[in-house]
Symmetry: C2
Subunit: 498 residues, 2 copies
């Protein structure tokens, strides 16, 4: 029986997905399990699997198959959406010729290595030539993709992480936020200073106890340990495949908060993965809907749900018991204060949810200028410091706490940063709608029951896979397009009530 | 610059090796790490990687490249040996057409599943039709490979595990052993019965302590933890890649011996992997020299070295300390008796080194008859029980302890069994020569110093990779071809001295 072009494409993409799953598992292993001496052979394995995947998607047969599948009148809506995602992946893969792909891969690997010591030594000049080379190649990549996608160079990069994302639209919401944040932040800091003093929690907090608590909360949230694990790695992440989600964390025995909140954050990612439509496993339409939606799921769990007073009412006695805590530092009031502490700082990954958008907006503005050719890398440190001064009123002591802090640009990931704050806004908008639809969500969380929240997310977000665009997904779930209002309301209600 | 055919082949085989390494890691993960719900996507990943590997080696371009490389006058001896191994792999891969490969893979997967419950229920009839189907397909495979290799059907199967192995030659040494074993076994059992009573070691033995001891002995043996790990799995094995060797074991808290001896056995495999020539990583000639040589390395460590009195002099105080043991049961004399206990039993994997060859010879004779068409699977249980009666004088109560005990045939691995006893004989012959060359080997082991033994093995076995045939490897290392004399002498010296 002859396969239709659509069936042929499904078979090919299922094979690519399996290859991608293998790659993802090998990445997880490299971070969580591999002994140091394995790095050389692992690098070779990853490179070969990547080449094979690239060969599959750039197979000349795909052009005709995609045309034929797009003309097929018998496909249902999900199948059509599947073809749409196949086309998207194909355009991205074919837009850039193999020489440029290889040059980029080599330049990024080199730059990343130099960046590690440059950051250590706060020596931006050491990495400048490599960074210039990466940017030069990324701009070539952006131009090639822009041509095929019919969008601007920056939007072509953004589209890799945020399908259909447009800088102009992001600019509108970010400008809204930029106008709101500085005064609001002053207000929050003043209120915080006038409030009760925060009492620190005294450790040590054994890693084994942290792991037990983390797993207990993961279970309460609905993480399925039949389809996933929790391990340790230097940089925590959520990897693996949708049916076998591998979370990692890192334990600091003097402070359990960073590991615990990290686990809850990654669990948000994992619940999305585990909730994607099982009928479409292995197909592009069955995948997650890109970085901002993924981040919305992790932030909804970590920030919206698990830094709420309701969650802490449930969590405080469990934490107290696991760590043998006692005294008023372990009261829900004090814990809530600790978990919603706001502070101006230099480092994005340590930022609270009020100051975090400032870090992202700074990077978004800088990377757009760089891709447009309006910002030379030699001027990056100055532009960074000026920008941070404008938006947060502080200046990093060295470039280590400034433009050297994040791996992204040095590793070739330009156009990624806005997805963090898009995710935060999406999380706020989704959570507001979920609570409006199901008033029992927060009272249930106070009892450790996440089912009402998860039911809503499964139905309105997870089960959709890639069948809708990001914009339609948000509009269908919340009844309006993405905007900053819910995020601002959330910040006001939590950090400057009354 | 144009690649020579040889260089082209090196590139292709390096790619296949990386793919094989990825497969191996995913297998390890499946046994040691994967949550149960991951099995479906993992199966898909493994299948896709296997198909890609098969496509690479059956690429039509290889026929001409191999011809050209074989005609290349400029290759050195290692390169020539490399081409020889490439040809071997190519002949095996191309001999069988894709339909038969797929039919076999499906039949084996199905039969293995049925076998698990058939063994559980001692119900051979339940698995008989599937086993007949597997055997039928294996015989087709054997005929196809025999045709290409110019050997008998059985030898064609054997060649997959024991390159260049010939049933006639194996028959000669196995017949020698068969003549020796029955009377010798009676003698050993009589001596054992007349000797001091064995005192059991009282547990429990916590898994964490077993792991600590295992790792300490692995380190003493020379296992490089920068290039490997020790984990747990239901069926212990040595997997991963040569640069990242993944050992597994299983802990029984009522008896530490099985896990510990298992770890030492797998460490023997691992030391071989870690000692293969680094200059030839990723090339066929840099690989291990097949199953009997691999088994010789594990048995040399476990049986020859680590059940010796010398090793137990080193190990006894360490075990005593780790498990808090005391009393005369922990004396070296008693431990030596425990670790060299001989007993007639039904189960191959639990057999001691005196009775083990009987189990292998039984299977070797049966599988040769089956492949030749002289033994119908319906007659297997009877033939098994008759054979075991002949060679060990015992009859299994049910087929669970008889012809259902091993996975091999049900999973399509015919021609594998003889490598266990070939390995045992090779281990004895190598260890005898090593001790003759370096008299300090055993005295050093008594002090926990394995370096003299490892130096000898590195030089005479590990560093050779696949540059020599099995026969030449043994002859070069020991000065004579493989024979049963050293194994018999070893058994006599250890089990029936004087």
């Amino acid at each position: 029986m002859l396969k239709t072009p659509y069936q042929d494409l499904e078979d090919r993409f299922r094979r690519m997905d399996a290859l991608g799953g293998a790659l993802s598992m090998l990445h997880w292993d490299m971070s969580a399990m591999m002994p140091p001496g394995g790095v050389e052979s692992r690098t070779e394995q990853l490179a070969v699997l990547k080449i094979l995947g690239h060969e599959m998607i750039t197979d000349p047969a795909l052009a005709d198959l995609l045309d034929a599948a797009e003309a097929d009148q018998h496909l249902n809506a999900w199948q059509q959406a599947n073809v749409h995602e196949m086309r998207r992946a194909w355009v991205h893969a074919c837009a850039v010729d193999a020489d440029l792909v290889e040059a980029l891969s080599r330049a990024c690997a080199k730059c990343e290595t130099i960046w590690r010591s440059a950051r250590e030594n706060a020596d931006f000049k050491a990495v400048l030539p490599s960074l210039e080379e990466v940017l030069n190649l990324v701009r070539q990549e952006a131009a090639a993709k822009a041509d095929k996608l019919g969008v601007s160079a920056y939007d072509a990069l953004l589209d890799q992480y945020e399908p259909g994302g447009r800088a102009d639209e992001i600019d509108t919401v970010f400008t809204d936020l930029s106008g709101f944040l500085p005064d609001f932040l002053d207000d929050v800091l003043a209120k915080q200073a006038a409030g009760p003093e925060m009492m620190p929690l005294d450790g040590p907090f054994p890693a084994s106890a942290q792991k037990t608590v983390g797993q207990a909360f993961m279970t309460a949230l609905g993480f399925d340990f039949d389809h996933g694990r929790l391990d340790e790695s230097h940089h925590p992440f959520c990897g693996g495949t949708y049916d076998d989600v591998r979370l990692t964390t890192r334990y600091d025995e003097s402070d359990f908060t960073s590991a615990l909140m990290g686990v809850l954050h990654e669990t948000g990612h994992a619940l999305y993965d585990q909730g994607l439509p099982k009928d479409w496993r292995g197909q592009p339409v069955g995948a997650d809907r890109g970085m901002s939606i993924h981040e919305s799921q992790s932030l909804l769990i970590e920030m919206q749900a698990c830094r709420s007073r309701e969650f802490l009412e449930f969590a405080a006695p469990k934490m107290c018991e696991a760590f043998g805590g006692s005294g008023s530092a372990w009261d829900v009031d004090n814990l809530t204060r600790l978990y919603t502490k706001v502070e101006k700082g230099f480092i994005r990954v340590e930022a609270d949810e009020v100051t975090y958008p400032a870090h992202v907006i700074l990077r978004f503005n800088l990377e757009r200028a760089a891709i447009a050719g309006d910002l030379k890398m030699a001027d990056l440190p100055g532009a960074w410091n000026d920008g941070l001064k404008d938006i947060l009123g502080i200046t990093p002591p060295t470039d280590r706490e400034g433009c050297l802090q994040d791996i992204h640009w040095y590793d070739g990931a330009w156009g990624y940063f806005p997805t963090y704050t898009l995710g935060a806004m999406t999380a706020a908008q989704l959570f507001a709608k979920a609570k409006a639809d199901v008033p029992g969500i927060l009272p249930s969380i106070a009892k450790g029951d996440f089912a009402p929240l998860m039911d809503w997310l499964r139905t309105h977000v997870h089960a959709k896979g890639c069948s809708l665009s990001v914009q339609d997904l948000i509009a269908n779930a919340t009844g309006e397009s993405l905007n900053a209002d819910y995020f601002k309301s959330h910040l006001k209600a939590r950090y400057a009530p009354g």
